[in-house]
Amino acid sequence: MPRHVACVMDGNGRWAQIRSLPRTAGHRAAEATVIDVIEAARASGVEWLSLYAFSTENWNRPGSEVAYLMRLVRRVVRKHAPLLLARGIRCRFLGVADPRIPRELAQDFDDLATLTADNRGMTLTLAFDHGGRRDIVEAARSLIRSKTPADEVTERLFADHLPFPDTPDVDLVIRTSGEQRISNFMLWQVAYAEWVFPEALWPDFRAPDFLACLHTYRRRDRRFGGVPPQTNGALS
């Protein structure tokens, strides 16, 4: 069972386009999948779930869509706060640094994180206004500020300066809608992750699809860069 599963929620816009709906309708439909996946992950014993909700590059989308997303996320967060609390899910928000994020939304993020900080069930990390490279740059800055000598910097020490250093490496990344890109998502943590690319668009993605992905993961042979013992041919 993967300990840390991450989802790149892709395909909302296409889902709406197929139905001749505005793109915003796709985002609205994504809410149901998010709740479904959280439930499925919790029920199947995943300890860490990360969702890529908004990237630093998403600010380039049309202003009205961004504004809509901000309001939608705010509504979703407030609507499901009691449920998340009751289910023992600890919520945190990765990123959330841009001044363009409405103050009320940032406050809601803070409140939800405070509210669920003591929960010991699953940890749900919502990457909002997140960029993997930015996190790495921030960690480097933090290292320099702490005046760590260059020779002492190890991978482990470096990871300690990333946001939420207690987050374990990602074991499985699910990217819906068949797109096969990393898109600057938790770059440090996905170093050894297995990737699956289901064809379903995110609003169509449901708990059974999620379980299927977990199943795929279990059949994978994770090598972490090593050589599988049964092969004797040349591996590059």
Partner: protein
């Protein structure tokens, strides 16, 4: 001062746990009496001017309350060495306060008559508090208590000559000062009208501004009315204080109710615990802090849940985009915020020498400094003040306004500020080891090291300390250990 004048040689010691003074410490009525005494003090033109110029009680009332409480407790300590040391500290502190009021009259915190008046108001308020709560003191107790307060003054001044020897003469003295000398000073008005309306939340309730503001809106005017009604009639007339119907009854009721707590089991109300609890900063590692932190965390979560459950006003409409004010990045504060919370200690909207003196005073109190370290710290702050004045006071009025500060923030970290950090380091490093160990660190910040401090082997080197101090003072970084030290109310 000799032990003879302080009365320890007498059969019944005037100081120590048996004194009348100590008996009031845990009495809730004492809180009301202290407010009343402070108003009477502030109404004295000399003291009022000194308070208006130097005191931090409007911006940092809780810190000031804690310091005053601890100081008084030391002044009535059973050990003469503790008393002597505290008297010396207070004298040095007062010796640094002098100037002139708005009408150009000179004031001096070392003035004998003024200091006698402070002691007189404390004594008179204690007597009045008992009278108002229907439990008047007997003649013997009153005389004994008077002797204690005179000994208090003697410990400060060397002798108690400024207060009449006999208690009967005292009442004549008191009425004369109220009638002839007290004025409607600005400081008294500030305490009566401004302090309670703007009282900042103590550290404990810092996370709940709404709750605090609601409670304050209710309690503030009430406390003001109670205090006004308890003041001597001649003063109320002179200062033009309102006679509100029912205020006298309210005041007597408040004193009476507070007086009932004397029937509670002993130890239920402990002023020290209450004051310490209120001013305990959340990340202090005091053993009680853990309980308080847990309580705070629960209150914070409760507040978060309420905020999240509050329905949003109006549904989201994709087309109407409200203007979004940029949120301030975490860990940094705006120049104005820093000016208000840290630099402007006296809360008058300007940065002036008394503001920096208040910082030096707070640091010296924390570290329990003696001479010559205390003077060295003050001198470093004075040099910093000259540097600030030269760099920031563009309109030449001798003080620095918030605007002047905001336009010239980068020049704040000059050599004089670095010197302040170095002197502070030396003062904190009591054993002169060149590093600050865990105990020394704790004395200054009342908290232990944190992981994010650049520490090696649980000590704090000079350069790291100076760097940290500078980044707080000029980089305006929040969440440093300096915050509870200088920014907390």
């Amino acid at each position: 001062m000799t032990t003879g004048t302080t009365g320890t040689a007498d059969a019944t010691p005037l100081f120590g746990p048996e004194s009348q003074f100590r008996a009031f410490f845990d009495d809730p009525r004492w809180a009301l009496a202290m407010i009343r005494a402070t108003v009477l003090e502030a109404a004295h033109p000399q003291i009022g001017a000194a308070l208006a110029d130097n005191s931090t009680f409007v911006t940092h009332p809780w810190r000031r309350l804690r310091n005053t409480f601890l100081s008084m407790r030391r002044m009535f300590d059973a050990d003469p060495a503790v008393r002597e040391r505290e008297a010396g500290r207070l004298n040095r502190l007062h010796a640094r306060m002098s100037g002139s009021d708005t009408r150009g009259r000179a004031y001096d915190a070392m003035d004998r008559a003024a200091r006698a008046w402070v002691v007189a108001t404390l004594f008179e308020s204690a007597v009045t508090m008992c009278r108002l709560s229907g439990q008047p003191l007997g003649q013997d107790t009153m005389e004994r208590m008077y002797a204690e307060y005179r000994a208090f003054l003697a410990a400060l001044e060397g002798d108690a000559g400024a207060l009449p020897e006999d208690i009967n003469d005292f009442w004549r003295y008191f009425d004369r000062v109220v009638g002839d000398e007290l004025e409607n000073t600005e400081a008294a008005r500030v305490i009566l009208y401004r302090l309670f309306d703007h009282l900042p939340a103590p550290a404990l309730l810092d996370g709940m501004p709404t709750l605090w503001a609601a409670g304050r809106a209710l309690i503030g005017p009430l406390l003001g009315a109670i205090t006004v009604a308890s003041l001597p009639e001649p003063y109320r007339r002179k200062a033009g204080l309102p006679e509100m119907p029912g205020a006298a009854t309210l005041m007597q009721g408040a004193y009476l109710t507070a007086g009932f707590t004397r029937f509670l089991p002993e130890g239920w109300i402990n002023a020290e615990t209450i004051i310490e609890t209120l001013s305990l900063s959340p990340d202090s590692d005091d053993p009680r802090a853990r309980t308080m932190t847990a309580l705070r965390a629960r209150m914070k979560r409760g507040a978060a849940l309420i905020r999240l459950l509050t329905p949003l006003s109006g549904d989201s409409d994709p087309d109407s985009v409200p203007a979004t004010p940029p949120s301030t990045g975490e860990g940094r504060r705006s120049a104005e915020e820093f000016f208000r919370q840290v630099l402007d200690q006296t809360g008058d909207g300007h940065l002036d020498w008394p503001d920096l003196a208040a910082m030096a005073r707070e640091l010296a109190t924390r570290l329990d400094l003696d001479e010559p370290e205390e003077t060295r710290l003050y001198d470093a702050f004075a040099a910093w003040w000259r540097e600030l004045q030269a760099a920031l006071d563009t309109d030449g009025d001798g003080r620095v306004s918030a605007d002047e500060y905001a336009t010239a923030v980068p020049s704040l970290a000059g050599p004089a500020l670095i010197r302040v950090a170095e002197v502070l380091f030396d003062a904190t490093d009591k054993d002169g080891s060149g590093t600050i160990d865990a105990d020394e660190y704790r004395t200054l910040f009342r908290t232990a090291f944190h992981r994010d401090l650049a520490t090696t082997n649980d000590t704090f080197g000079r350069s790291a300390f100076v760097g940290d101090f500078l980044s707080f003072m000029s980089g305006r970084r929040t969440n440093t250990p300096y915050d509870p030290l200088l920014a907390d109310a």
